[in-house]
Symmetry: C2
Subunit: 563 residues, 2 copies
């Protein structure tokens, strides 16, 4: 039997993973990776941390855990894979099962036949279609070269002011990196919120935190890059404001690289990605695709989505690499669109559906916000704010957003697994998680979130979100607002929305200070609304018919507070 010829176009994440998996499935296959850039298998998600100075050796982004640089020599010696770098594939010829390529160093052209082809061409960072984009000082953070450029800026320490355009994951991570480089920063976001994968309120809490580190402008795009002598000197916003800066990092999302695939006649989806089935096979047999260039399925809604995440690229590449050798035995079920980022002391992320996505998908859901620590106070526990969604009819977990200085990663991993397992709120209220004080509270934050949501779904806990309360306040509805914290807590911070303070320990004795009208709407809260919940139960027992608990209490209040 002839050795199988496998070609992989693209050598960043999905490509090398697919090639390595194919190699492990078939030692005799001839496997070639074509890579346009000079580097291979770059840990591109690590760029912001190289720029931010978390480590100094750029080779760490290109190395195996034991320190071997993943260059063509490594691929040939360790894996028997031929990696052609600085080589651009210019055409896919489906009919004749070959590709054409050009060596970008020598200019030489050539062609090579394949039995199976894997397209992992990734995505390209978007640039706004505005004047001035050719000025020096404007960059993205998508390539190793971008990372080197920004790292040099850090090391030289000359630049004083920069803007980051786009408040998504990459924008947030880049802002942190440049802030750590001592640069004064402004974040500019066209939409009304940062991190659009979160619901507005959760994103607002991130924005409030970010404002302690940088200027933040939302609902305002960049209209023009301003410059002098070919060098960036500032940006002009759509509302006319000018912001002086010597550096602008553009992070307004990515577009799948599908030119080759499109020209070859492969089907492209409505979102602009290559269409693949659950085997990562394209519309043409013998051609597979994986990574940021593809559209994949959201496993909750069944809809196609673009999900340009490094972890998914690897998993998709693994499936494609197995299938080109073994036939379509491996499947990739799709994504829950789990995402996380670090922003200084905060972790911020989501798995599954946000409220707005659940609405879009026509889901009937219940939701709750839980603000509480990840660990006991005596072990220096940190606050976490979780927003949890479950389907009303089945109780199935639909999505979880989590943020704060606490252990966000564990919380999201729990909910990601719960969603994958089709677990319900009732299942999660008695989850058996690893408990010891260095790691969690006796009732883990995730279980506490499930408890509150279960109470809400059982009608025991009548919650109101901060957004709903704000709307009532703006509409000047007639409310009695009851803060049941201690006087000392009230002295430190208060919402300042016309509330009355009665500490929970005095409430039973001071019920006479409550409204006479037992049908009046009462809102109770405390720091995290556990005492607020106890107060509501107490008032209900004393005949009040319309008592609501402000979910997440003072800790999750996204609007201005009095101090």
């Amino acid at each position: 039997m002839m050795a199988k010829k496998i070609i992989v176009i693209g050598g960043s994440a999905a490509g090398p993973k697919a090639a390595a998996r194919a190699r492990r499935m078939d030692e005799n296959a001839e496997i070639t990776i074509f890579q346009k850039s000079p580097d291979l298998s770059m840990a591109s998600c690590g760029y912001p941390y190289f720029v931010g100075g978390f480590f100094d050796d750029r080779n760490k982004l290109l190395c195996t855990p034991t320190g071997a640089v993943r260059d063509p020599k490594f691929y040939w010696n360790a894996k028997g894979i031929l990696a052609k770098v600085n080589t651009e594939v210019t055409k896919i010829d489906i009919k004749n099962k070959k590709i054409e390529f050009k060596d970008l160093t020598s200019g030489e052209q050539g062609s090579q036949e394949y039995d199976k082809l894997i397209i992992t061409t990734g995505a390209t960072a978007n640039m706004p279609p505005i004047p001035g984009t050719n000025l020096n000082g404007i960059t993205t953070l998508q390539s190793m070269q971008d990372a080197d450029y920004l790292r040099k800026i850090r090391d030289e320490g000359k630049i004083k002011k920069a803007v980051v355009i786009g408040g998504g994951l990459i924008g947030i991570e880049t802002l942190e990196a440049l802030h750590l480089a001592g640069i004064e920063l402004t974040m500019i976001e066209l939409l009304p919120q940062l991190l659009t994968f979160l619901d507005w309120k959760m994103a607002k809490l991130v924005e409030n935190y970010l404002k302690t580190k940088a200027n933040v402008i939302t609902k305002n795009g960049v209209a023009e890059f301003l410059g002098k002598d070919g060098k960036l000197s500032g940006v002009k916003l759509q509302n006319g404001t000018e912001i002086p800066c010597e550096l602008a990092v553009v992070a307004i999302g990515v577009k799948p690289n599908v030119k080759l695939a499109k020209e070859a006649g492969l089907k492209i989806g409505a979102l602009g990605g290559i269409l693949v089935d659950e085997h990562m096979q394209t519309s043409t047999s013998d051609v597979y695709a994986a990574g940021d260039c593809c559209e994949i399925k959201n496993i909750i809604t069944g809809n196609s989505v673009l999900a340009p995440y490094g972890d998914l690229a690897n998993l998709e590449g693994r499936v494609a690499g197995e299938n080109v050798i073994k036939g379509n035995v491996a499947t990739f079920p799709g994504t829950q669109q789990t995402g996380i980022c670090k922003l200084f002391d905060y972790g911020i992320g989501i798995t599954g559906l946000s409220e707005s996505k659940a609405k879009e998908a026509g889901m009937d859901f219940e939701k709750v916000v839980n603000a509480s620590p990840d660990k006991p106070g005596f072990m220096d526990g940190k606050l976490l704010i979780t927003k949890l969604l479950a389907e009303k009819t089945t109780g199935k977990i639909l999505g979880a957003q989590c943020l704060g200085p606490g252990d966000v990663s564990k919380q999201l991993a729990i909910w990601a697994t719960a969603i994958k397992g089709g677990l319900t709120v009732d299942d999660m209220v008695n989850a058996d998680f690893p408990y010891a004080p260095p790691f969690s509270l006796a009732i883990d934050h995730s279980i506490a979130s499930a408890h509150i949501l279960q109470n809400k779904m059982h009608g025991i806990f009548n919650g109101i979100s901060s957004l709903e309360l704000k709307e009532k306040l703006d509409n000047k509805e007639d409310l009695f607002i009851l803060d049941v914290r201690g006087a000392d807590e009230y002295e430190q911070t208060r919402l300042g929305i016309g509330e009355t303070l009665i500490p929970i320990g005095m409430l039973r004795k001071r019920l006479n200070e409550l409204p006479e009208d037992k049908n009046k709407e009462i809102i109770t809260y405390c720091k995290i609304s556990l005492r607020g919940y106890e107060a509501a139960v107490l008032l209900q027992a004393h005949g009040y018919t319309n008592v609501k608990v402000l979910e997440g209490g003072v800790a999750a209040w996204p609007f201005e507070k009095e101090k």
Copy 2:
């Protein structure tokens, strides 16, 4: 309607939780907690961290997150719960639905009627039945008073040598605490391994690590406490060895406190705990029990177990507290016996079944060991060693053990949720977890563990455990052992078991150094056995028929190494 009368016997974890839940279900119920000790709702799992100096204020163990001490006044004012401390319940009269009690301060006796009773009497630390237990300097770490005693020893700094008797969770945590107090320690364990919830090899890795901090003696119990003038001066082991010490902490497990329940005629299980159903109801209606005094169900095997964990006590208490008010609407499904502890830089834990427990239960399972980091090297990733078990026929995850300096808590939480959701290895290979370099590798350690186990179940990966290899070595079987790490890695540490070094990058060129007999048994490995796996695939492709990969490689080798 008359107010419902609820009595709770026991005020540590399950009791206060049950009382608080009952209060939230019914503001009008009369709820009384009887507590023998002076303290209420102690964070008893936090004792080792108070002793170890992680914090100094003992009140933190008794406080709400906002700093209110949970004393009888707090319970009355904030929750409307009457808490009688220093009060021992001496009898439960099932027929007349009342209890008798004695005030331990005044000596006064009394009785009180109940409509519903909740027994949360906890467990008592075992003491070995040997001479000398009445000497000064012998303690357990189970009560607030024990914690105060050991903390005083830390603060005084007079004691130089101590032994910890029993290598379970509490023993391990206590050893860390006393080590941090500057005391020279010896751990003494009667059984052949520490932490018997782990399999032998995993426990051996813990022991190897612990030996860098303290003396460790296994397979040897304490035969006698030695003393002078009423003060402990040493312990004598069963083999005659004497170890001088001024302090001995006994941590050889706990026994459920069931005397009251037994005398009242409630059914006690074969393991010595109070029998309860899924509603936490005992054999008598109107009487519930929760926490360490109960037997509960292992949800994987269906067997009854004792699971004296603080988190379960809270969850069980919550169910009992709801059911005494609402009737049996809430259920507690049982435990996966998830446990975790911190030992200096290590996290160590398990969820679900160990290999030995799975064998006992007659399960047909496959298993694998994965040693790999939790995060990228450039983000200072730390090693994790996971042992994962899945049912052969269904692929369902049965159990996971994890240890190391990496993020063990997240790994165990993932597997605990996966077991709860009935997820299989095939489900977990494409899990969508929160990925960014500060939090995980692109392919999370848990997913990598699933990948290796899937490869093994599909016959792609032929693994051998270090124990199996050791047995072959001891039997002097004819093996070719191949280390495919780099020469520099080999210089630093090697197994020293007659291995041949051929770095993976040279293997394709140096195949001639392999045995001529293609049927000879070959064992390959590297640091974590990823390159070892690639080597095995390579050799198999070159006709070798009996190649096995040493699972977890050098990192998970529990026996002595050459340095």
